[in-house]
Symmetry: C2
Subunit: 339 residues, 2 copies
């Protein structure tokens, strides 16, 4: 193939494995194709497993993130996958490749960030693998979690008419990345701090995931890692449905709006296709919307915001500036050329 892996793409590669790997044995509740695998751990217990790889010059730049932040983020994005299934994270494993020019300060900084995140979310670091790499740092975290049988929320449970909701603002991470890549000076210190933190030290919504799962409020869920458009299309695809997304209703921060204005871009795009916000995106039956909003407000002090509706017709439509239009599935594919 002349164009390497571009025509196949990330999801084509995954498809090649999914097709041949088979459904697994009886104790496999969920195999390839969701935020986590789900295993029957005996009785009502379910074991959740997720793994994510971060590569230098692809996911991060060495000068754009401190070792502490890299350690924190490496773990938190995996915990977010557990949260996206309604699970409680329990244990973490760190496999990483380090280049010879790094020093002990890098290792201790990374460790401190990772263990801070582990403490915050009650996760035990239980093992891993430390190897050398020739040119780029690579970090691979595997995180285990647990949930009870009826609590696991997959991507595939959405029903037509379900309200699509977001657990918090999106776009801040994309705005933060923009600050790292383009040396923007016209930003207040407070805005800069907020947007960089969203990108460099994202906080997974574990409590929200547990609330939605233990109260059986959500029918489908995912965390926003690839952007709302692509992540919603994952829910739609796995549920055999379509979705109407109201981009005008996306919760955006004032900080992101201000940066977008000064940069001459549309802040909604950071939320739609920027990714890495790690907010939970979930579907709620219409008759549970009020209860969901209220529970989020009262128990967690956060605003669950309706941003769309699941539809029977397998199409993805987006409303912008009051006008609806059909859109192709978008987002970051690791092997497709960006336009």
């Amino acid at each position: 193939v002349a164009d390497g892996l571009q025509s196949l793409g990330e999801f084509g590669i995954i498809g090649l494995f999914r097709k041949d790997a088979g459904p697994g044995r009886r104790w496999v509740v969920q195999g390839i194709g969701d935020d986590c695998a789900v295993l029957d751990a005996g009785g009502k217990e379910r074991l959740l497993v997720t793994t994510d790889m971060l590569a230098e010059r692809v996911h991060f730049l060495r000068d754009g993130i401190t070792p502490f932040q890299l350690g924190y983020k490496s773990l938190s994005v995996n915990i977010s996958d557990i949260a996206a299934m309604g699970g409680e994270p329990t244990a973490a494993f760190l496999a990483w490749g380090l280049t010879g020019d790094l020093d002990e300060a890098f290792v201790t900084g990374f460790r401190d960030g990772l263990l801070k995140c582990a403490r915050e979310f009650h996760v035990d670091l239980l093992g891993g693998d430390t190897v050398s790499c020739k040119s780029d740092i690579v970090v691979c975290l595997t995180v285990l979690g647990r949930a009870e049988e009826g609590e696991v929320i997959t991507r595939s449970g959405a029903r037509p008419g379900d309200v699509v909701m977001l657990g918090g603002v999106v776009g801040d991470s994309g705005a933060g990345l923009s600050l790292i890549l383009h040396d923007t000076e016209n930003v207040s210190a407070a805005d800069r701090k907020r947007l960089l933190a969203a990108h460099l030290e994202p906080r997974p919504q574990v409590e929200l995931g547990r609330l939605l799962s233990t109260r059986h409020l959500a029918t489908a869920m995912i965390d926003v890692s690839d952007g709302v458009l692509q992540d919603l299309s994952h829910i739609a695809g796995e549920s055999g449905l379509g979705a109407d997304l109201d981009a005008d209703a996306l919760p955006l921060s004032d900080a992101a709006r201000r940066l977008a204005k000064s940069a001459g871009v549309d802040a909604r795009d950071w939320g739609l296709t920027g990714g890495e916000d790690y907010m939970l995106l979930f579907c709620v039956p219409p008759d549970k919307e009020a209860e969901t909003v209220s529970a989020c407000r009262v128990e967690l002090g956060l605003d669950a915001v309706p941003v769309g509706t699941m539809t029977k017709e397998k199409k993805m439509r987006v409303r912008r500036g009051g006008t609806w239009s059909e859109v192709p599935i978008q987002g970051y594919d690791h092997f497709k050329k960006t336009e």
Copy 2:
């Protein structure tokens, strides 16, 4: 630190995490420091977890291994860690970073090798992460396994007087690597095939591990990944003991002996420090040695070979050519300069 990570070393880095990660919560049976982590999975069930990273130009050369072999080996070396605890492998997760110049044939070849290994050892591939990398392929497998409470064999259970045994020949993998690195022509096709297979498609000793664990024959166990010297010193260190190793008794293949002779090297060194043989190295109480040898022969058709003794004195001694001498702990450290 002027010398990067060299003075700290791989085991120094692990030590920095082990010190601060804490012992974990009650359900953690074994944290950082063995082939696998061991978790209480409820009742008598134990969950084993291991993860390993393979990096291009460090663990393999793109021209030295086929995609099929890389897929097979990536999984088999992780299954070997489950075998080394006496466990039964159950599920695998693949996180990998691919460079843009790879093609679909690479992906399907790798997949075929990985899934062949998965079928051979009854492992389900249940998820992972596919990302792009700038310069080197990186493969990270995480494998889960199971065992019952009393079956788990750690590195730390050896007792003074225990017989140190090997589950098969060592050195073939080091000899195979030597064939890849040095273009040796003076080797028969059969020898070449055997030695390359040992290095490129190592077969983990899962059945041997299960036999030793379910019959309660071994007190401590590890798989030979870093070389017999270093792996035995891991058992000694974790058990608070020393060991006498009879290098003259190491089981070596005729193929490795022939290659060593023509290359003017000592074949024992491939076994002692070459690593990647993935044979099980285990300790057996003297009164169970005969039963162990017999069970291995009758049930698995393999020769368990005594190669040393665990000692009270915390020293590592090696016998070569009939002479004993004390040796420093040796083997491959990812960040130490090789002499």
